[in-house]
Assembly symmetry: C2
Homo-oligomer: 138 residues x 2
């Protein structure tokens, strides 16, 4: 169970890039549009030289309708979620459910990179939106 990325919501990807890349010096990684979630996404790896994880992930809404857009409107820019890698996401979700943890995704879904992902509800985690990535696929 290791951290894959820490996601930050930004008002503007270019502003985010200026801070995290130009000022903080993190290398720019993958960037793409995740239409299904209504967001642009960009990764800034901040891990060991030999490993591109964990990364800072910037996410920015494409419109006013997405969950991320509503989060940004309500809470402002800042930290959004924390993502952990697991070997078997179905087993992880089953185990968490068994322990009484409230899941947002009862079944994993595929993100644009083809990685199986699922979110756990902040009600069960002390206010932290927790995501899982299945690393077998990603």
């Amino acid at each position: 169970m290791k951290i894959n990325h820490i996601a930050l919501v930004v008002n503007d990807m270019a502003e985010g890039h200026t801070f995290w890349h130009d000022v903080m010096g993190l290398p720019a990684g993958k960037a793409y549009r995740e239409e299904a979630q209504g967001v642009d996404v960009a990764f800034y790896p901040a891990g060991e030289k030999d490993s591109l994880i964990p990364a800072v992930e910037l996410i920015s809404p494409l419109d006013d309708e997405s969950g991320v857009a509503k989060y940004l409107a309500k809470k402002g820019p800042g930290m959004h979620h924390l993502c952990f890698e697991v070997d078997d996401i179905v087993a992880t979700l089953a185990e968490l459910k068994d322990k009484g943890i409230q899941l947002i995704d009862e079944e994993p879904r595929l993100n644009k990179k083809g990685v199986k992902v699922a979110f756990v509800h902040p009600k069960s985690t002390g206010g932290v939106l927790v995501e899982f990535y299945e690393t077998k696929v990603g």
Copy 2:
């Protein structure tokens, strides 16, 4: 520049321990009281086997007066700050200041573990409270 820890504010350290250790399975690391900041602190390493970083850090206020207590009262439990390791914190702070970044700590201070630390103001980072640790000492 790599991530040392992600700090989460919790209402209650025991509840936080239950989720992050018992449910999520992160090993329990150092835990101590940081009187100067008015908080209890506990680390849950989530890194590679050979490295105890990055970690999830839980922080919980000791009273109603500390900055963390006020944050918790205003925003509720959840993600609080993001800490990066640097080799030379004085040089990092000078460089950030030169780039127009607003610092909370113009000079590094020592935390209870004897690590030189400093915070950058969320106004300059897109809403994220960013901390630096100087790894030469820590």
